[in-house]
Symmetry: C2
Subunit: 223 residues, 2 copies
């Protein structure tokens, strides 16, 4: 029997790496999709390539789309500084990229329709939520429904898309424990927002990661 294809949105970060290994463990023929979107931390993309090699999956596509051109986020706007993280505050962080997951999932649907991959994996979590509304299950559900109304495969051929967000109600701690079982190559995942040679240790993302590894009871193989 031919295996079902899945597209995994792969940033090169921890969450998407675990999602990729998970999709593979579930028997999918996995295609990774990454974006060069003007992010400051483009070292992520180098890590994504390495992760694809470690995971031995079927393919990897990096799509260029410069969302930095209209600014609105310190991740893409080079004139803003990345703020030091306070992981307990409730405001929307400056690192929010407008409608990022909306764009990424739309492009995944376009690619999915073309290659007949109707399962899309995304490593979002609303538990580790730091103001990113596009990481919530309610958004994912709405997006899935929209994709299924806007693609010929779904409307005319009954090939419904399914967006898998396996960590949406999980914490990073849960993901790390699961990832260790799955053999995720954590050493080649990248979380730091700054994107220089070694993780800065002070941004939101570095702090969340360090705290999660500590709570999971592992040392971080990337450090």
């Amino acid at each position: 029997m031919e295996r079902k294809k899945a597209i995994v949105l792969l940033s090169g970060g921890l969450d998407s790496a675990v999602a990729m290994w998970l999709a593979k463990s579930q028997g999918y023929e996995v295609y990774a999709l990454s974006f060069s979107y003007g992010q400051r931390h483009s070292i992520e993309l180098e890590k994504a390539k390495t992760l694809v090699e470690s995971a031995k999956i079927s393919g990897h596509r990096i799509v260029d789309i410069n969302m930095g051109q209209w600014g609105g986020s310190s991740l893409t706007d080079m004139s803003m500084n990345v703020e030091e993280g306070d992981i307990h505050k409730k405001e929307i962080p400056q690192t929010y990229v407008p409608a990022r997951n909306l764009v990424f999932l739309s492009v995944a649907a376009s690619m999915g329709e073309a290659i007949e991959a109707y399962d899309i994996f995304i490593g979002v979590s609303e538990v580790d939520y730091s103001g990113y509304v596009d990481c919530r299950q309610s958004f994912i559900d709405s997006m899935e429904s929209t994709i299924n109304m806007g693609t010929v495969a779904a409307v005319e051929e009954g090939k419904k898309f399914k967006i898998h967000a396996p960590f949406v109600y999980k914490t990073k701690v849960d993901e790390i424990i699961m990832g260790m079982d799955l053999g995720v190559d954590f050493a080649n995942t990248w979380s730091c927002y700054k994107g220089e040679g070694t993780p800065c240790g002070v941004c939101d993302s570095c702090k969340l990661r360090a705290e999660a590894f500590r709570k999971a009871g592992y040392s971080d193989p990337a450090i």
Copy 2:
């Protein structure tokens, strides 16, 4: 009072040109958004630039995103020929680009959130429907709802996006008559799928356009 901003998806074709003039006539500060997505008829983009000048609007952004890289359409896949059009048949035409309007509207939402433009105009019509499921009002409604769940502006600040599809229940004939009243620069709109120096006259899009101008009682200023 500051004028409301709108983003108009501008392909350089007839429908989006009328949409742009319409948005301007409704008092919006208009920003056009075009895509270089690997389309065969990239002459459209040159026409889009000319239309932006004719309409004297506030800005124009052309976003590069190569949806041709995964194929699936004769508009982006250079190894396929554009079929000669039969405008009365019901099948999905080969010129369908997977999830194109999904991607375009997502990017418009990203740009819109960044520049605070919450009104998005798109010139789709389900009357002139030739198998494009992403041109239906039901899809537009679902997309609007998804955008309003996936952007901080909408969720946290109550700035709801509105997708305007003013021609969704109109014919090309209606659009041409409206466009003539609005002073649309039809001479610089481009419809032919082939994208060579002069319209081919035989593709789906050329046939629809010719029939529409004839029924509207105008001669086509682009020919």
